[in-house]
Each structure stands twice: as C-alpha cells, then as structure tokens.
Symmetry: C2
C-alpha cells in the first residue's frame, strides 16, 4: 500500500504584492488620517465606509471573460444557489466607483448635495513592483449633487487645510487648478470641424509633465524620438493648429488676471472655453474671499493629469520643497493629491447625470513627504519593561506594571523565559523600552527597586569617555513606593 503523503508545511509568506504594516507604521498612518478626517468633518463631510466587495457589474467592469477573470481587479464568481450562474464579485479598486454605487442606491435617504469622505484599502490586480503594492490606502473626499463650482473651490480650500493639518507648512505646497472645459475650448478653436484625433491630442498633452513644451509641440506635429530611441508618431497638426494648445499649457501668468486673459485669447470664440474660464475666475474669487490666495491655490493650465478623465475643474496638490532623490539629485517632492469634477459617474446606474467633484490624497505619498520633512510621527516610545528576577514573584511584577499603567504609563512585564537576564535586556532593547525595572531578592529584602534609564544608558554606552555622562547614573535605586514617581521623572527627562 502506498504511504499516505504528509501535507507539506505551508509557506509563511504574504502573497506577492501584498504587505503587512507593523506598530509604528499603523500608528503613523492613523494619526495622519485622523487629522485629515477632522478637517473633512469640519467642512460638513460625513464618513462613509462602503463594503470592500462589490459586484463586478457595479464596479463598471463588464463580466470578465473566462480566460482572464481577474483583469485589473480581484474577482470571483459566487456559487449558484438556483442553477443560474452566480454573480461575479470583486474587491473595490478605488473609492469613487463605490461612491457612485452608494449614491445611486441610497440617493433618497442621503442629503443632496452629499458630502462624504472615505479612507480605506483598495485592491488592484496588477503586476507588483518596487513600492507598488496590490493593496494600498486611499483617502477621498467628494461632493455629489452640487453643480456649482463653489463645490470645487471648497474641495481645494479643504485640501489646503488638510495638508496644513498634517504638518505641511504654508509655502511648502501649492494647489493648482485647471479646467477641462478650457481645453475643450482650445480644441474647438484649433479644430472647429472636429476632424483631428482629440484622444491623440489629449495623450500628447498628458506627456507635458515629462517631455515639456517642445516635446508636446513635436507630438502634436510630426512626432518625436523618445528616450528609449523609439519614434513616437505625432498627431499631425500643422504648426498653426498646435500653437493654441501650447499657448494654453503655458498660459500661466504672474497672477490670476493675467492667466485668465491669456486663456481668453487661447480659446478664441469658443463658448465652452469661455464657460471654463468663467468657472476658473469664479473659483479664484471664492477662494480669495475665504483668504486662500495665490500663495496656496493658483490657476495653472499646465496641470494636465486627469484632464482626459475629468469633465470640468481639475486640481492637483504639489509639495514644493526639495528632497534628494535616490540618485542624489535635488528635486521637488511633487504631487500628493489630485481630483476634479466628473459629472457622469452616477448616470450609469440611474440614467440621470449627477454632478460630482472630489479629491483623492495619495496616502503613501503624503506619508513619505511627512517623513522626508522629518514630520513623520516620532516612533512612539516602547513600554517600560518590568524584568523578572524571581519567577515566584510574578504577581509582584504584574502589580508594578499595573501601577505604572494606572498612572498612564505604557508598561509590561517580561513574559519570556526569565532565566537569562541578558535576554530580558535584549528584549527591552528590541521593544525600544525607555526604562527597565529590576527587582531581585536583594531589592525585595530591602524594599527597593532598581530603575534603569535605557535611553541614558545607550548614550553612555555610545560615548563612555565623555565626562558629562559620568556624573549621571543610568540606574537608580528607589523605595518600592516611589516606583511610579521615579519612572515618571525619567520619562519626562527623555522627552
């Protein structure tokens, strides 16, 4: 008889492209999101936590074919109960598609306009890469049902407040606003017959950040050689046609008035173009009235990201301070949030167009920015570690930890094998404990405890020769009754 094969041990590994977050990372992100949520709440936005799982149908992906059921999303088919094939379900890939579904589903119970914020993980079934994960956080705020650009202006003001709330100083960020309608106006002026390939024009414009003015000019015309040596075919506009597009992209002036004047020239007689410029002007006025001047929020037609997706105003928050990149070059930190107006999202469900505008903060980007500025939440101190010298006295040690905790001090008893005291101190080190409490037989007999300042101890170990440390003992003996007071004194010193 064949031997029954033993089941092999499973691999202890996160699936490819997924990761775990430990202690300090969880706390740091939470602190940042809590501050942002407080700002959103103050603006009248309500939290929404939608289901992580949606029907594929509601997400706007059509029934995936059988060969590649997971293209872009993580999807699976429900088991059938009735003989009919079950629904396809999927993990949400962003927070906007679920908002559209929620608004369509609950629109009779929700206020109109509906201001909501959402923070949580989303999932993408994409090839993971360095720093690119298949589960990551998004943080969105949107207003649904408000046609007025006052809603767009409000989102921009709120975004500025949120950035300042997490610690980005005024002057270290700028929110730039553009408008898809102005671009539409420019295209109308350039190509009134609609004979040019507008998608191709949009794709060329979208490269403005990377290839600059001359690059876009080439892409709109005959094409250009890209960095990899490949020749990219151009849209084929003649020079006169391409210039208004370039003029649009580079129309930012010294102030809003000058920018708007240049834009008016670029759109010629286009109605939609004029409407877009009026909207930008209104947004600038509304923000100015609330004290958000050009030091924080500017009209900048060079913002191209999302211009293909949004239907009206488009915004982007950029951090303007310099960081040193992985190649040692100084560069601006760049974009941490973006958004705009998208008026057709709910229509898929209801047939009725519902105006909507919103912004999404790149949670990991903003966290990285805070760290780059030294504004990341300082890693919370580890707990005070009460060491175990006599196994039979565990109740005493637990009582010490309980007293410290009752005084609001983070504290724990060492619960590993206490035999090797060195291991206990190594443990305290790994826990980044600021203080260790030591009480053995001798201390018990004399009614005292030893309190070891591990922060000071580490400093002395680093530079033992320095005179200044010699006079400061890193370990003190105090009466048992003074445990809490002495630990508190040392912690206050460490701050």
């Amino acid at each position: 008889m064949a031997k029954v094969k033993k089941h092999p041990r499973p691999r202890a590994a996160t699936p490819k492209g997924f990761r775990d977050y430990f202690g300090a990372d969880v706390a740091e992100r939470k602190a940042m999101l809590d501050r942002i949520a407080a700002v959103y709440h103050r603006y009248g936005f309500d939290a929404l936590e939608s289901s992580a799982v949606e029907t594929v149908e509601a997400l706007g992906k059509f029934l995936p074919d059988v060969e590649r059921p997971n293209a872009g999303v993580f999807a699976w088919q429900e088991e059938s109960e009735t003989g009919k094939p079950g629904d396809w379900l999927a993990l949400r890939y962003d927070l906007t598609a679920p908002l559209a579904r929620v608004y369509a589903q609950f629109r009779n119970d929700l206020p109109t306009p509906y201001r909501r914020y959402a923070m949580g993980p989303v999932w993408r079934n994409e090839k993971p890469g360095p720093g690119r994960f298949r589960q990551f956080y998004q943080c969105d705020a949107d207003t649904v049902g408000a046609p007025s650009v006052a809603a767009d202006a409000e989102i921009c003001a709120m975004l500025a407040d949120a950035l300042e709330a997490v610690g980005i100083a005024r002057g270290d960020y700028v929110i730039r606003i553009n408008n898809r309608k102005v671009l539409n106006g420019v295209l109308e002026a350039v190509d009134p017959s609609g004979s040019a390939d507008r998608d191709a024009i949009l794709r060329s414009i979208d490269k403005f950040d990377k290839v600059g003015e001359d690059g876009v000019r080439a892409l709109l015309g005959k094409g250009r050689l890209d960095a990899s040596g490949a020749y990219i075919d151009g849209v084929g506009l003649d020079k006169a046609q391409a210039e208004p597009v370039i003029a649009f992209l580079t129309s930012r002036g010294a102030d809003a008035a000058q920018t708007l004047a240049r834009l008016r020239a670029a759109v010629g007689g286009s109605g939609v173009g004029a409407e877009g410029i009026d909207e930008l002007e209104t947004i600038a006025e509304l923000l100015e009235a609330q004290g958000y001047g050009a030091d924080r929020i500017v009209i900048d037609p060079s913002v191209v990201r999302g211009l293909g997706y949004y239907t009206g105003p488009v915004f982007e928050a950029e951090l303007t301070f310099e960081i040193t990149d992985e190649k040692g070059r100084a560069r601006q930190f760049g974009s941490v949030a973006g958004g705009g107006r998208y008026d057709d999202l709910v229509k898929r469900f209801t047939g009725q167009a519902v105006p909507a505008t919103g912004v999404s903060i790149g949670v990991d980007r903003l966290l990285a920015a805070l760290r780059a500025k030294g504004l990341g939440a300082a890693e919370a101190p580890g707990p005070v570690v009460v060491t175990v010298m006599e196994r039979a006295r565990m109740a005493d040690y637990q009582a010490m930890a309980a007293e410290l905790r009752a005084a609001g001090i983070r504290a724990e008893v060492y619960l590993g094998n206490p035999k090797n005291f060195g291991n206990q101190l190594k443990y305290a080190d790994r826990r980044r404990a600021p203080v260790a409490v030591i009480a053995g037989e001798d201390e018990r007999a004399r009614g005292v405890v030893q309190i070891k300042d591990l922060v000071l101890g580490a400093k002395i170990a680093e530079s033992a020769s320095l005179e200044e440390w010699k006079s400061r003992p890193s370990q003190v003996e105090v009466p048992r009754a003074d445990l809490v007071a002495e630990v508190r004194r040392i912690l206050a010193r460490a701050d």
Copy 2:
C-alpha cells in the same frame, strides 16, 4: 442586421450579505476601537495590520476543490505567469490565522514574546442572514511566545480595562475563566482507558449553555429529545462516569478557593487536571495582586465555549445587565468577547510549537451593548448650514462658513440649487444642522445676518402652545461681525 444590444444599466446594490456604514456608524465604531486600542497600547501591545489577502495555503484551508472553490472563504486563483497554475488567494476569515502567518514569517525580527493587537474587517463566504454579514469587524489582542499563564492573566486584566474604557461600568460585566486542561483531567479520571468518544463528550459539554445540567447529563448518557422533537443519541457513559463531568461544569463555588477545591475533587489523580487547576490558581493570584477581584474576573468552570478549540485557559467576557429581547423578555446581554490559549497555531508553518494566548472582542456585539446602555456615541451634531439667498454672493457665504470653521465650528454652505428656500431648510433638517445662517438682500443692506436656532425651532414646533417658548425667539438678527460669537452662544445652549 441585428441591432447592437445596449448594455443594461447595472444594479446599484451592495452584494448580498454586505453592507455600507454611514457617518454616525463609522464614527461610533471608530471611537470605541480607539479607546480599546489605547488600553492595548498601554499594556505594551503593538498594532498589526496584516494584508487582507492571504494565500489559501497560509490560511490553513487546503487547495479548494474545483467544484466548490469558495467553501467558507472568498477565494480565487491567481493567473499563471509561468505556465504553472497560479496560487489560490483568499480574503482572511479571521485575524488569528494571519497572526500565525505573520509570526512565522517575521519571527526573527519580532520581539519574543510578541504582543499585538489587530482591528479590521474579515470576510466569510457563508449564507447571510438577519444581522449576519459576510464582512464584519474583529478586534483581537494576542501574546505569542509566552508560555506562562501570566500572559493569560494579563489578557483578562486588559480585557476588563478595555470594557471599562468604552463605558461598561464595573459590576456590569464579568470575565469568566476556565481551563481545558482541567476538563482533560476530568476525562482522564472518568475514562482512564480512553475508550469513550471524547469528541462526543466535548460536543455534549458544548451544549451546557443551551440545555443545562440535566440536558448534558442526558447527552452524556442515553441521549435526549431536543426542542425540535428529534432524538439526539447520547455518548453512552454510565451514570457514575457522567457525574464527574457534571461536577466539573457545576463546580463554581462561593469563592476561588472553594471552586478550586471542588475541581481538585473532580479530577481525582489526573496529572494534567492538577496542572490545569494550578494554572487557574496562579491566574487568580496574579489578578488579585493587581486588584482584579472576583467582582470582575472569576474562575468559572461552566464556561464551555471554545473548550474544544483551546489548549489551556479559556476566557469569556459577559455583560450582566439585563436588556429586553425582541420577544419582550428581560435577559442578560451575554457574551461580548472570548479567547484562550492555543499553543499549536504557528507549528503548521515552522514545525515548532509556539505558545500563544489571546482574546477577540465581538465589535458589533459590544457596539450593540453600548447602545442598549445608552452609551453609544451621541450622534455628532450636523454642521451649521449657511443658506444661499443671493446666488451672486456665494463668496460671502463661503467666507461665513470659513470663519465658523476657523473657530472650530463644523459649517458648510448649501450647494444645491438655491432657488427654493424651503428645500434649503429641508436640507438643513436632513443634515441635523443645529443652526442655519440666513443673509439676503435686506440683511446685506443693513450689515446683519439672521441666525436660526433649529434645535429650539423644532421644540417650539412640537409644542407651540407652551408659554415658555413664546418668549424665546428661535431666530435672532445680529451684526455680521457677531456671526461666530452668536453661533457659538447658540451651540453652547444646545449642549
């Protein structure tokens, strides 16, 4: 030619068994979990947020068969890149299996013992029912790598602190502790040859909560007629064999000493039984030393839930106050948390047994308990709503909202169609706005604003005949410059 069929509109619906959480629900749960997290942190526990997606292999479900790939979990197969079949991935169904994987994967970088807490959604592919969802929150705390029952005692003390931190008063809860080893000792005493069906005995004991002492006695013997009229076969122990099991379940005495004495009688000469009783005694001593007396934590061998799963101490937190159930009967609220020691979880991955103990709080149960006690977070007040009387003055209205927000007051401008003023007040009502600000042409000319106290207004509308309201105007006119001060005055009154 056949007409191209238009794609039908997608249904705007959460998938069956899933739900969305809105404003107040999100805030209420968050407030509760934040308080619990603060307690856990003070005990030296670190946050862990593991990936929501695990390999099916790591979750401990073997490769699902092709017919029912989703039994119990939501699972899907990764696309293959190499020609080999892709991994099966699944959404986590609890927070314990991921902890085991994380500990096995990162054990060289984690402190030992490793204390961690985790809060987040888990997913179950089960038939949904009333109040039973396929995505729900769990809130766990576990200590991995600590063999000492001091770790179990600590978890119980921390659980008591957590319940009090969210608002459950001392006296309204009790944490009950049992020990699987004591039961093992009883079974050894009852059936030294191991010839009885121990799983069947465990299943009978597990019904103790439902069928009581006589019911378990019958199930251990010949069997019994259950409520549905079906006859449940018994284990077939004779009366003398069954009695020590019953004695174990009913051994709770007036105090710990009496309970322990009764247990010692029940286990006879069993070594493992004696070990289990010693553990319970140690736990009681440790807790007593920290001030957790029998008013909060008791040894109670009638705790049977989880006795089949855990390998050592087992705990359960029960709320002891009465609520009125759906049938109008008064009953105790019941269990809100449970846990225990499970020493084999990590072994699957590494081959080495790692001691672990922990507790899981039923988030929805505890929230329901807080609401039943009137301790649910009072729904946060809605924002002050600045109404729009003159469309062209949007900048003024936005400036008013900005001033209120700068003073820390939640405020928003009405951004729907302002034409029908009644709609604006209906909106304010739906937002549960405490105050509406009204400033039309006349107010502008006179440099004033109207401030409407909507809370008072609603009271007056309810009982308009009462004299007391007549003297209190629900709307006041103040100079524009006094907007913030007057709103603040009204909000202070509403508190």
